[in-house]
């Protein structure tokens, strides 16, 4: 493939990589730097693309390595040990009563489609994503932002399939509750 075509193809993925990096690192400039490094690595190693995964999956893998490198250099290893987290702060016990009913009855959301055109909604959504634990947040973003399959997430995070489903379940329920509290239940909207 001639270089301009490769560049155009890679550029399509930039907004996704930037968003992923920004949500994981919570520093916009650092995110931009790392994504730039991803593109340089990708161009150098374009032959290394196997074609077995999608281009976005490939670029995301490179980005995850860059993020891990960054944490290593900063002396902060992020544990992706989902098992250790099973009883941790990211549980969803607080959302349910002991008999399995919701502690707070889920409410009907009024005109959720309207929110999709409201910039403040996306700010609330990002704030809620930022409150997820590292493992649940990463699994969720890989799935819903980067379009990974569950199988690809398991491989990337090195967790079992059932743990992968547990992480996604927790992330979604916590996000649902967070959005309800921060966005759909407030009067801030209008």
């Amino acid at each position: 493939m001639p270089a301009p075509q490769i560049l155009a193809e890679l550029e399509e993925h930039r907004p996704y990589l930037l968003k992923f990096a920004a949500l994981q690192l919570r520093q916009r400039e650092l995110a931009e730097d790392l994504v730039q490094e991803v593109f340089l690595s990708a161009l150098k190693g374009a032959d290394g693309f196997s074609g077995r995964s999608s281009v976005r999956t490939w670029l995301t893998s490179i980005l995850l390595n860059k993020i891990a490198d960054h944490h290593r250099k900063a002396g902060r290893e992020v544990s992706m040990d989902a098992l250790a987290e099973a009883d941790g702060e990211d549980g969803i016990d607080a959302l349910f009563r002991r008999n399995g009913y919701y502690a707070n009855m889920p409410q009907a959301w009024r005109n959720p489609e309207d929110s999709l055109t409201d910039q403040r909604f996306y700010e609330a959504l990002e704030a809620c994503v930022a409150r997820l634990s590292a493992a649940a947040g990463r699994a969720f973003l890989l799935r819903e932002l980067m379009g990974f399959s569950v199988e690809e997430i398991c491989k990337e995070l090195q967790v079992s399939t059932s743990n992968c489903h547990v992480l996604l379940h927790r992330a979604r329920l916590r996000l649902r509750a967070c959005l309800e509290e921060r966005w759909f239940a407030t009067e801030r909207r209008k």
Partner: protein, 64 residues
């Protein structure tokens, strides 16, 4: 009868894998009787839609 908590796991799982026949029956029976879980089902799908829109929104939004 499945609890709301068990149903919430199936509502999440159905976005990632094909549920077994038994799971689907249990889920649909519960949803037929439980308004809260019906809302959660719709909202989890909405969450997916919102995440799809997220990167598109910011493309030109923040140019400082």
């Amino acid at each position: 009868m499945l609890s709301c908590r068990e149903v919430s796991a199936l509502l999440s799982d159905q976005l990632d894998r094909r549920l077994s026949l038994k799971e689907r029956i249990g889920l649909r029976l519960h949803l037929a009787m439980c308004r809260a879980c019906g809302r959660v089902e719709v909202q989890l799908r909405f969450l997916r839609e919102a995440m799809c829109e997220l990167p598109k929104r910011h493309r030109g939004a923040k140019r400082s």
